[in-house]
Assembly symmetry: C2
DNA sequence: TTTAGCACTCCATCCCCCGGAGTGCTAAAC
DNA sequence: GTTTAGCACTCCGGGGGATGGAGTGCTAAA
């Protein structure tokens, strides 16, 4: 059977009506919204066809029609009109983007919160490292005889620091020597290589100094590891409870717990895709089988990409969510790009000592 | 009327039964659990008295009894037995305490998550600064001609750092001079004083250097401000949905949204109190009027105290929650104390240059 | 003061009924 | 061949009783 333009129009009306009301849509309601004047009987014939073709479903014989995942997919691919954002919407997002960013972890969770606030659905955010990170630069700042601040910069130009402590007093010049050693021997290495090199140096270094080396390198390892996991968060899960499909506490609890406890298992867009929409059973993950996900990615410097996603019922307002999320993601990319241009993020590697 | 020992015993049985089942408790069920053998009729008489005295309530004439807030209060104050933690429980908490702490913000949100996991109720955590913080020490590390890393240590000995950027190239020795200036002029000041001093210096400093000063001081201000707000988080809100009193999505949504959006408005224990229990209407906040809160505090260094709380229905399992939370809070105090002793947190102020 | 006995109350549940929204089908009209 | 009016049919949802069980309050006796 063929999908005539009228069938498409009817499908579109059904979907958009169902998106806004969550109630099955009947022939009468469709007739009222259709451009051409046709009788409800005609529409009923078309509806029967659409059900047969798999684009719509019928909860029971005497109810209206509800879109199927296949119907939503067609809608998203062909029928959905690009939603232009209103001035208020762009302004709201721009305002959100002007947030201060303390560090990357902060950005991730803030981005998640903002995305949730933007669309009134639960949202998630994560940062993906494209390849394994390494340390780019070390500094050691003496505080007192047995304390110093370790500052490390990772290859994505993020800076971390912590106050560390040694058992034995260390002189300032020794600390400076150690910093040189660290920059010579421990930059641009993977975690495993760093551990190995540390072991190698254990015998060759004065014990008092080796302790310092040890805590500093372990701190660096911690930074590297910390920057790879725990980088996914869920925000705005409470938005679920406003949706009629989640009035059932068990259902809401199930999805909410999954999202909060396993944010790292939420969908990631295919490499290269800026935005991806996954509808119902298109989700691999069992817990998301009857929800839809809209997920967008943005660039953070050369080596990383960030990701924000929205989880909602299959009848989610794809047009609005997609428009807002994509604008938001673009804004984030620009924000990071700007910093990059300003020198806030990547730094030419040639600019300071290192060896290997 | 007097509160005889038998009345107290009955009250205790009612409360403990209601805590575990959330169902009104009848005279027959009470008789089965009472130590002395009395008839249900006698118990009914006693129950009528307890209702009259305000310790119990009756949903309707022919239902069992339900504890009132006054009843819970008496229970918590007098009747509740100290709950000894099992080996598994202490082990679980100890394991949780062995978490790595990256920075304070991380600790707060982790503590909240752990508390929630420990008690299966929503939990919140915050850190309170006892007095206004200031910067204790600055360092500037040149990266390339127009980039440098600013490292600041606040008076509570936390270290923050960020890569910053200037318009004009700055020489390394100039950067060192600026660091001295910052340590002389901008340490141990409140935010407002820092801004004022920055303004004062605007005319007296070479423009190229002032830009550096400006971004560095503004970064410090951001750190100070960031460390005071956004320091409260809610975790495990999804636990609400498992409770029969929150099967109603609207009710759950209301409380959950409040907790997630305004964690800073959640109860803080009185100064000096290590643990506090607030039952139903004892909560000042309207949103918590028919929930109970158990909140414990722990010490972070000299100048700060942390705080973890649990929100649940008034029939929450006070004994278990209080025992676990207090053990957890003690563990956190010890953890910070240990670091302190090890020199990881506070540092004698005399140990490096400063004036003012 | 305690207890047995008993009538009473009230909720929860089931069931049935019924109206309304919506359908599918048929037959006529275009 | 397509569209439309008409009509019988289906099914959900909500409003009313019935019903039974858990629990009470009260009375009168122990």
């Amino acid at each position: 059977m063929e999908l005539t333009p009228r069938k498409k129009e009817i499908l579109k009306v059904v979907i958009e009506s169902y998106i806004s009301t969550a109630e099955p849509v009947g022939s009468k309601a469709i007739a009222a919204q259709l451009t051409s004047k046709v009788s409800t009987a005609t529409i009923r014939n078309e509806l029967a066809d659409l059900v047969e073709m798999g684009y719509l479903e019928q909860p029971h014989t005497s109810a209206g029609r509800v879109p199927s995942p296949k119907g939503y997919r067609l809608y998203v691919n062909e029928l959905m009109e690009q939603r232009a954002l209103s001035l208020q919407e762009t302004e709201q997002i721009n305002r959100a983007l002007r947030m201060k960013m303390q560090e990357l972890d902060g950005v991730i969770s803030k981005a998640g919160q903002m995305a949730a606030a933007l669309v009134n659905y639960p949202a998630y955010a994560m940062a993906g490292v494209k390849s394994e990170l390494a340390i780019q630069r070390f500094d050691l700042l003496g505080v007192d005889a047995t304390s110093f601040i370790a500052v490390v910069m990772t290859e994505d130009s993020r800076v971390s620091s912590r106050l560390l402590h040694t058992e034995l007093p260390v002189r300032a010049d020794a600390l400076a020597d150690l910093a040189v050693l660290l920059n010579e021997q421990f930059t641009h290495l993977h975690v495993s290589q760093m551990s190995r090199r540390l072991m190698d140096l254990a015998g060759q270094t004065a014990p008092g100094l080796f302790i310092v080396l040890n805590v500093a390198v372990n701190y660096a390892i911690e930074v590297l590891q910390g920057s790879e996991k725990n980088r996914a968060v869920t925000a705005g899960a409470n938005n679920l409870l406003k949706l009629p499909e989640f009035r059932d506490a068990d259902k809401a609890h199930e999805l909410m717990s999954f999202m909060v406890e396993n944010p790292e298992d939420l969908p990631v867009p295919a490499e290269g895709a800026h935005m991806q929409i996954l509808i119902g059973p298109e989700n691999v993950n069992e817990a998301l089988k009857d929800t839809s996900v809209v997920v967008a990615s943005y660039d953070i410097g050369d080596n990383m990409r960030g990701l924000i996603g929205v989880v909602g019922p299959t009848r989610m307002d794809y047009a609005t969510v997609a428009a807002r999320l994509s604008y938001f993601a673009e804004g984030l990319t620009k924000m990071f790009g700007k910093q990059e241009k300003e020198g806030l993020l990547p730094v030419p590697k040639e600019d300071h000592d290192r060896h290997e």
